[in-house]
């Protein structure tokens, strides 16, 4: 124990020396060679992950050059003819693209407005429960759908609310002859998408808010209560301000993913609800690129999506930094 304590600072020094080389006793090249030899097993360990990311992350990025080509499978990336920005010109004059963009923005806004407050409210409710066991139980049940696949969640919604589902059957029994099939009606689809997200993710999303609530000092509540603040005033002046930081952070991060949200959820239901209501940018890129085999056009839509998303994420983090938060990465 004592030897360990005595030796640790030396080792730390040696490490730092190796890292910065401020004494410059050995030539620089020998130093980095020594570091490379010392850390070679660490680098070796990162190789499997690195190789997979190079193949399935970076190679497709290079493949995006096809957005500027008229790609065909036989010529490949190297020999397909270059067409400049023609794909993008076609994209920005395509009514289908603008409809997909509008749908994306509308669906995302409705989803944000309807979904975002629910976990906060539920977390406050959970937090006010005194019985820890009951709270834990209900929280576990509420988080369970987070682990269901989208296919499963939509099946469940279809069986409960769809044409032959439980709710329409119940309505028919009680005199409503022809209830709307919410699973296929374009008008209700906007809200259906949000309802599915609320059902699936609310319980899980409370966890982060619960942690923020637990971090609020009880003495604040006590002092306020002693000063005569009732439970609603304590909620307004202590609880909600305590949640402000995490709420802003999550909200901003959400905005960063505004264009790419809910791809599987939309794609599964696209056939049932139709393109005019359910086509978003991600499914648009998939439909043109894979289903219709117009690779370059789909890739152009994908590149637009990826590029705009990076801008959104960076902008969202800038805003987070303005609010004094760390965001996804630090300043």
């Amino acid at each position: 124990m004592s030897t360990e304590v005595a030796r640790r600072p030396q080792a730390a020094d040696a490490g730092r020396d190796g890292g910065r080389g401020r004494q410059g006793a050995r030539p620089a090249r020998a130093r980095w060679r020594a570091r490379l030899r010392r850390d070679r097993s660490l680098i070796l360990m990162t190789l499997p992950a690195l190789v997979l990311l190079l193949i399935f992350g970076y190679a497709p990025m290079l493949g995006l050059v096809m957005a500027f080509q008229d790609y065909n499978v036989y010529s490949g990336f190297l020999h397909s003819p270059w067409v400049g920005v023609a794909n993008f010109q076609q994209l920005f004059t395509d009514p289908g693209f603008w409809r997909a963009l509008t749908n994306t923005v509308v669906l995302f806004s409705i989803q944000l407005a309807l979904f975002f407050p629910v976990p906060i409210a539920l977390a406050i409710l959970f937090d006010s429960m005194l019985s820890r066991r009951l709270r834990g139980l209900i929280q576990s049940v509420a988080s369970l759908p987070h682990f269901f696949s989208w296919v499963l969640v939509i099946t469940i919604f279809e069986q409960m609310l769809g044409g032959a589902g439980v709710l329409p059957a119940f309505l028919r029994q009680h005199g409503i002859t022809n209830p709307v099939d919410v699973m296929t009606d374009p008008g209700t689809f906007k809200f259906l998408v949000s309802a599915q997200l609320i059902w699936k993710e609310t319980g899980w999303s409370t966890i982060v808010f619960m942690a923020a609530l637990a971090a609020i000092s009880p003495t604040l509540y006590e002092a306020a209560a002693v000063d005569g603040a009732g439970r609603w005033r304590r909620l307004r002046h202590i609880t909600l301000p305590g949640l402000k930081a995490i709420t802003i952070l999550l909200l901003i991060l959400q905005l960063g993913y505004a264009l790419t949200f809910g791809f599987e959820q939309m794609l599964i239901q696209l056939g049932a609800v139709g393109n005019s209501a359910g086509q978003v940018l991600t499914t648009f890129s998939y439909e043109y690129g894979i289903v219709q085999g117009n690779f370059s056009y789909g890739a152009a839509a994908g590149l637009f999506l990826g590029f705009t998303s990076v801008i959104l994420i960076v902008a969202a983090n800038k805003v987070a930094h303005l609010f004094g938060q760390d965001g996804l990465y630090r300043r």
């Binding site: 190679a59 059957a169 439970r231 994908g302 998303s309």
Partner: protein, 326 residues
Amino acid sequence: MTAIPRIAEGSAATGGSVRRRRRRSRGRPVWEEPPTTAGLMAKGGTLCLVLVIILLPIYAIVLTSFSTQGAVNNAGNGLVLWPHGLTLNNYKLIIGGGVVARALVISLAITAVGTAISLAITILAAYGLSRADSFGHKTILWTMLITMFFSGGIIPLFLVVSALGGYDAYWSLILPSAVSVFNIIVMRSFFASAAAEVIESARIDGAGDWTILRRIVLPMSKAVTAVIALFYAVGYWNSWFNIMLFMPADSQKWPLQMVLYTYVTEGSSMAGSGTSNVGQYLGRQQIATVSLQMAVVVLTLVPIVIAYPFAQRHFTKGVLLGAIKG
């Protein structure tokens, strides 16, 4: 200190039942006013509503999967809400053979193999990046992080995987999504903080990195490993789009989610009729009933519900690690 007069006040207001009430509501701080009846009812009602909304569909689906055709007909060819005419036949039919049984085995195999591969790669990479002064770790880390912000998108990925012969091959369901940079970061931050002291002293004692990882780091990070393993396993079990992308053609090779999806799309395109072609996937015609379809749904649910309680106590830790360090 200030709380003492509040107790007196409270006991004066509530009279003789103070002892009982205080014992029952052990957790309530003394300065907090006792809840109103209306408030309690609203709270209880909301919580019951939450439970019903989550559990009722699951209950109805499980019950329907155990129901006879007669019970399903009684319920208007929809989900059964009251137990009536129970049977095991639906499961016997499914387990007996056909596409669903095969899909179940395929899904389990992909989940097991995929989780093992992902976990191994993640642990290695996280440990490899966990030392603050190691050679090249910043470059490697950034190389990984960039893929979180920008991706080439679906179409180039599809072409790359196809060019490597991945179309209709099972590895295309595992390798392209095997690495989650997010999970590497979560694990790395655990190794770099919680385990840092121990790792450092082991290194000073002359242990090599492979020994440290196997003998010291792994045994002390069981909780975080369990959470990450669960995230990966759930991801593989639930993944659907990569099947749609890489092996949509051959229904004999489909995992369970794809079989279920085929049923969903048919169900919605035939809304109201309540029948579907699941019989075709079972290799027998004429037996497609809602209860059989629900048995398929239950099969996709069961592994998750079994794994859930074991990993559940670690969730908060896992989520918060992600939220804070991500």
